[in-house]
């Protein structure tokens, strides 16, 4: 058994309204930051999976992402493999 670490990105689907992204853009004026556009706000989920090999682990993550982490009706998701220690920090 090996431990693999993944990051699942869940973003609002294209064409789906992203209220958070719009609110962020709307408030940028107050921060005097220019040139920022097309802000989309989603989720990032990091997790470890213990499995016999990488593809088995990946299989588990794909199921988790598709069935629990993302709502397929309004969100799209993608998986990224992290080095075992790694985190976004």
């Amino acid at each position: 058994m090996t431990t693999y670490r993944f990051a699942v990105s869940v973003m609002p689907k294209e064409g789906i309204l992203d209220p958070q992204g719009r609110a962020v853009e709307g408030s940028l004026g107050h921060m005097d930051l220019d040139g920022i556009r097309d802000v989309r706000v989603g989720r990032r989920v990091e997790l470890s999976v213990e499995a016999v090999d990488g593809s088995a682990a990946r299989g588990v993550v794909d199921r988790l992402a598709g069935e629990l982490l993302a709502n397929p009706l309004i969100e799209s998701w993608s998986v990224e493999t992290l080095d075992p220690v790694g985190a976004a920090s």
């Binding site: 609002p12 689907k13 294209e14 064409g15 789906i16 309204l17 992203d18 209220p19 958070q20 719009r22 609110a23 709307g26 989720r43 069935e67 629990l68 982490l69 993302a70 709502n71 397929p72 009706l73 309004i74 969100e75």
Partner: protein, 790 residues
């Protein structure tokens, strides 16, 4: 405060079902859901063939949802005239005067199918839609009530739906800052794959702010403000794309989400901006964008004013590039409003929208030709003259849309309810062997349909606005009106179990119960809104059910002198397992002239006398008890005596005004015993009571016969209360006194033990439970039913 955003997608069967996914067909009109006959009707109204864009506009406007083509003929039969009604059916919401220059706007609306597909967003956008109907009238929304119906709570799919819907209602209502003060939560197998999410909103307005959804004055401008327009909510019409630019439908469908995402923050800004625009007298008309988007808003406002509107397609602010004209015209993107503005006031209007951070644009102008026309410069360049993409008489899309007289046929073997005063059956024929009323009461208290709703209501902000006097776990909510002694009392009710047996009686029962719920607080009901949730009207049995329900709704409202001020119809609530139980959701708002005279449901003082107003009629069919015990084939639901209900509605406010009532609680689900338990639990004080059993203990204690109210009265007021009841020809039966920490109900009379034993049953002849036991059963019910219910 947050949690405005949806939670992680819940575990459970992947959401699905609900929406019909049209596959492209040779004939475009069929792919769009129009019949060949309807295409002929369209040709007749246009005097020519419609082009694709026009066909798309017709297809959404002639949908059941927008055109009411199956129900219109029935709705015409409803009584709509009433004292103080200033806006009725036909407007976005009903409006009734309440004195002091104020008026109340209220309406019920359904969002059933979207909630079945995506419970959080479906419920959230449902709240957003009904709120827009309220502030479109010029009223500030002051309360939300949510009536929710689901299948078996033990089912994983149901739990997923319950959690999503409740979070969605809260996520939206909490954020816009309108208190959710009441509603309904019911479970019935027929809702398993087709949950019902009916939301009622109530608003308060200064009569001078009453705003019409009309587009008067040719030359006036049509201003679209709020969110930008995207591809969402185009649904079935997306087949057009394949026709329009030969895209493959599948690739195309992927690009067009059928789920709409609500933005309560945008809605809050929309509320404030709209009310400011109205307050500043800057608008000639205002219309929310709901189903069929800009097409519906322009054609309805034009038709109401007998004008036309020319829509400048290129001027409509979009969320996405490359949208086809039909997509822009029928998009159901949320949180948008259409204002009709005089040119000289445009600047002021745009300034207010800008201040609230809302995109706004002039998207058209009012004309005198009675047509909705769509023009665009695309392809002809800035200089060129705009091309006319569509021209349709406004009324062809709205008031003169197609109407059907559907065939109605009563299903074989339906059980009719007895007419009021029909001879009683010898007994209700229920199995009573070994029945212990105390144990049954505890079981009923924990029943998912009767237990505490705290798990739901703690997720709703009920106190924002500093006007909420009574909310939740109550027959009706009480919301005071600042700066006056007045208060509004509101409730929503339906009865699926009886509706299933007899749709007529189901509707009558719901109206009677809802009105009673408002009246027990001492208020006078002002008007009725409703939501008719039924199956496929093209099936004669289903249409018959709808017809019977509307007949019952009309009869009940006429008998109680209540105008129907508005409502909504939701059809095709069906799944593989068949249609839902006929569900006539009723919403009533009442007026309390003096908040200090309101009457609560809870027992108050030891020594007060407990009495039952009204008479117990036999019949247990349709009751929760019957669901537990099983009904005999010859059993029927109790009938409704509307004359007596009317008397109750007159008696209760008078008794309250004269200060004769310490408490009053309506008898409904779970029957008399349940009502008594609630009075005791909520008052945290018990009672010692004797109930004489005329027919059978089950009917006395747990029968849900209408027309009954549990009241308490100070001993020295008993005489006056009794005299008043006599004057209103209402039976008033003394049951005992308030006191102690137990609920004790001793059964007496020939119907009790003895008689029951005569029938070979052995019935314990008393209920004797501590409040702690009752409260525990009541509070544990929902979390248990939903399985920890996180």
């Amino acid at each position: 405060m947050s949690l405005a955003e949806p939670p992680l997608h819940e575990v459970g069967d992947a959401p699905g079902g609900g929406e019909a996914d049209l596959t492209p067909e040779p004939a475009l009109h069929r792919a769009l859901g129009l019949t060949d006959h309807e295409l002929e009707e369209i040709r007749a109204r246009l005097g020519r063939d419609p082009n694709d864009l026009e066909l798309a506009m017709f297809s959404v406007m002639w949908s059941e949802h927008c055109s009411y083509k199956s129900s219109r003929s029935l709705l015409r039969t409803l009584p709509t005239a009433g004292e103080g009604v200033v806006a009725g059916p036909g407007e976005n919401a009903g409006v009734v005067r309440i004195g002091d220059g104020l008026a109340v706007a209220f309406k019920l609306e359904s969002h059933n199918h979207p909630s079945a597909v995506e419970p959080y967003q479906g419920a959230a956008t449902g709240v957003g839609g009904i709120l827009r109907d309220i502030f479109t009238m010029g009223a500030r929304p002051i309360a939300i009530l949510d009536a929710l119906k689901f299948g078996d709570p033990a089912d994983a799919r149901t739990r997923h739906l319950v959690r999503g819907v409740v979070r969605g209602v809260g996520g939206y209502g909490n954020c816009v800052g309108v208190p959710t003060v009441g509603g309904e939560l019911a479970f019935h197998p027929s809702y398993a794959s087709n949950p019902l999410v009916n939301v009622m909103a109530v608003g308060l307005l200064d009569e001078r702010d009453l705003t019409r959804a009309a587009a008067p004055g040719p030359g006036n401008l049509a201003v679209l403000f709020g969110s930008t327009t995207g591809r969402d909510g185009i649904g079935g019409a997306s087949v057009l794309a394949s026709a329009t630019f030969g895209e493959s439908h599948s690739a195309d469908g992927a690009k067009r989400p059928t789920v709409q995402v609500g933005d309560p923050f945008a809605e809050k800004l929309l509320i404030e901006a709209s009310l400011e625009l109205i307050g500043e007298r800057l608008l000639e008309g205002l219309q929310d964008l709901g189903a069929a988007g800009i097409t519906c808003a322009t054609s309805e406002t034009a038709d109401r004013a007998g004008t036309g509107i020319e829509v400048d397609l290129d001027a409509i602010p979009r969320r996405e590039r490359g949208m086809a004209p039909f997509e822009v015209m029928i998009s159901e993107s949320q949180e948008r409003m259409l204002a009709i503005v005089r040119p000289e006031r445009l600047e002021a209007v745009l300034a207010i929208c800008l201040r609230w951070g809302l995109p706004a644009a002039v998207v058209g102008r009012v004309t005198d030709d009675g047509d909705v026309t769509v023009v665009s410069r695309q392809g002809v360049g800035e200089s060129g003259t705009p091309r006319e993409l569509a021209r349709i008489p406004a009324r062809a899309l709205t008031s003169e849309a197609i109407v059907y007289d559907r065939e109605a046929r009563p299903p074989t073997h339906i059980r009719r309810a007895p007419a009021p005063g029909a001879p009683e059956l010898p007994h209700d024929g229920l199995p009573e062997r070994g029945m212990d009323p105390g144990a049954v009461l505890v079981a009923l208290l924990g029943d998912p349909n009767l237990c505490s709703r705290a798990w739901v209501t703690t997720q709703y902000d009920a106190t924002v606005g500093t006007d909420t006097v009574e909310a939740n776990e109550r027959a009706a909510a009480v919301v005071r009106i600042k700066g006056s002694r007045k208060a509004l009392v509101m409730a929503t009710d339906a009865n699926a179990r009886i509706g299933l047996i007899d749709p007529y009686l189901g509707a009558v029962t719901a109206v009677a119960e809802c009105a009673r719920n408002v009246a027990v607080s001492g208020a006078r009901p002002l008007g009725v809104t409703n939501c008719l949730n039924f199956g496929d009207p093209e099936r004669p049995e289903e249409f018959w059910r709808l017809q019977e329900a509307v007949r019952g709704l009309g009869d009940a409202c006429r008998a109680l002198g209540l105008p129907v001020t508005g409502g909504n119809v939701s059809l095709y609530n069906e799944s593989a397992d068949g249609a839902i139980a006929p569900t006539t959701q009723i919403g009533i708002v009442g007026l309390l002239d003096d908040i200090e005279q309101r009457v609560g449901p809870a027992f108050r003082t030891a020594g007060d006398l407990v009495a039952l107003l009204g008479e117990t009629v036999p019949g247990l069919a349709g009751s929760i008890y019957a669901e537990h015990a099983g009904t005999a084939p010859d059993d029927r639901p109790p009938g409704v005596d509307l004359t007596r209900e009317a008397a109750l509605l007159a008696f209760l406010p008078e008794a309250a005004t004269r200060g004769l009532l310490r408490s009053a609680q309506d008898v409904s689900g779970g029957g008399l015993a349940m009502a008594l338990a609630e009075c005791a639990m909520w008052g945290d004080i018990g009672a010692d009571l004797r109930v004489s059993v005329a027919s059978a203990p089950a009917a006395e204690l747990f029968g849900e016969g209408p027309g009954r109210v549990v009241v308490t009265v100070a001993a020295d007021h008993w005489g006056d209360l009794h005299a008043l009841a006599l004057r209103h020809e209402l039976p008033l039966r003394r049951l005992g006194t308030v006191g102690g920490d137990r609920l004790r109900i001793t059964l007496t009379g020939e119907g009790a033990t003895g008689a029951a034993e005569g029938r070979g049953a052995s019935v314990a002849d008393e209920v004797d439970e501590s409040l702690a036991v009752l409260r525990h059963a009541w509070q544990a019910g929902l979390p248990r039913a939903l399985g920890k219910a996180g």
